[in-house]
Symmetry: C2
């Protein structure tokens, strides 16, 4: 199984924002899904090599910011720069919004933001799956979510039907 | 947190195919993501109420069939009919392909198919997260993946940029 299997999924692109002892950080993630309806749980898989991983273990909460189609450059910057080397919030690239239930800042201009409290975490191969309970959600109806697939950023295309349960 | 948070993600739509003691079943799932690069692990969250859940616990393997944009009706049928009531494979709706490493059938006409061996499982709220190691992958380059977002089925739209790591 040498081929990179993960590129064939269509992924929601998010920024995970964290704060611990007045230091803030954020990173791009795309391995993120809902895990439970009641309680509302979301999972995000993060490598232990990432600086954000340490924050999550300590602060036990995070902002989950679903990027909009206008935020490709933010995704690119936050996904390729480490908070160990520079304070990503000091660049004036990210406008922040005040959270209601957590300390970590939320990112402005996103399609949606969710405030999450860490509920659990599991080791899955070379990543840790952090499971967060969604405490607050804000949706920006004027925006459209940013997708990642086979190394490309996309917007949603044609509507092909409705899911009827 | 009364709002249904999960609808704001963009999800890859898959069919999970299973076989146990010569009985086969399949179901639609959209809570699916990569969890590890090495080993290659994928996670899919499935409610214990689903018939497929029992198969997974016993057979400990599954086919992960990433649907193409031409398979909206298959998603709809497999997602709204229970294998407890009818044999979904008996309807002539699903063409199958032989697997290489597992017993569960693979579905023809998909964007990609992955053969997975169960590596782990975790309880996450009202769902079980089944973690599979990807043993085989087949990609149909002529197809495009089917997406689910806010209750609608979509195809990928405009390419907005490339991810450069």
């Amino acid at each position: 199984m040498s081929e990179r299997f993960s590129r064939y999924f269509a992924e929601t692109v998010v920024l995970i924002s964290v704060e611990w002892e007045r230091e803030r950080n954020l990173m791009t993630a795309a391995w993120v899904i809902p895990l439970s309806s009641n309680p509302p749980l979301v999972g995000v898989a993060i490598s232990p090599l990432r600086y954000t991983h340490q924050f999550l273990e300590r602060s036990r909460e995070f902002g989950l910011n679903i990027l909009s189609t206008e935020q490709v450059e933010l995704s690119q910057y936050a996904g390729t720069t480490s908070g160990r080397e520079e304070d990503k919030f000091s660049k004036g690239i990210f406008a922040v919004e005040p959270p209601q239930k957590i300390r970590a800042p939320l990112i402005a201009g996103c399609f949606a933001t969710m405030e999450c409290k860490l509920a659990d975490s599991f080791t899955t191969g070379d990543h840790t799956l952090f499971v967060g309970e969604v405490l607050e959600i804000k949706v920006n109806k004027g925006k459209s979510p940013l997708l990642l697939h086979e190394g490309g950023y996309y917007r949603l295309g044609e509507l092909l039907g409705r899911y009827h349960s």
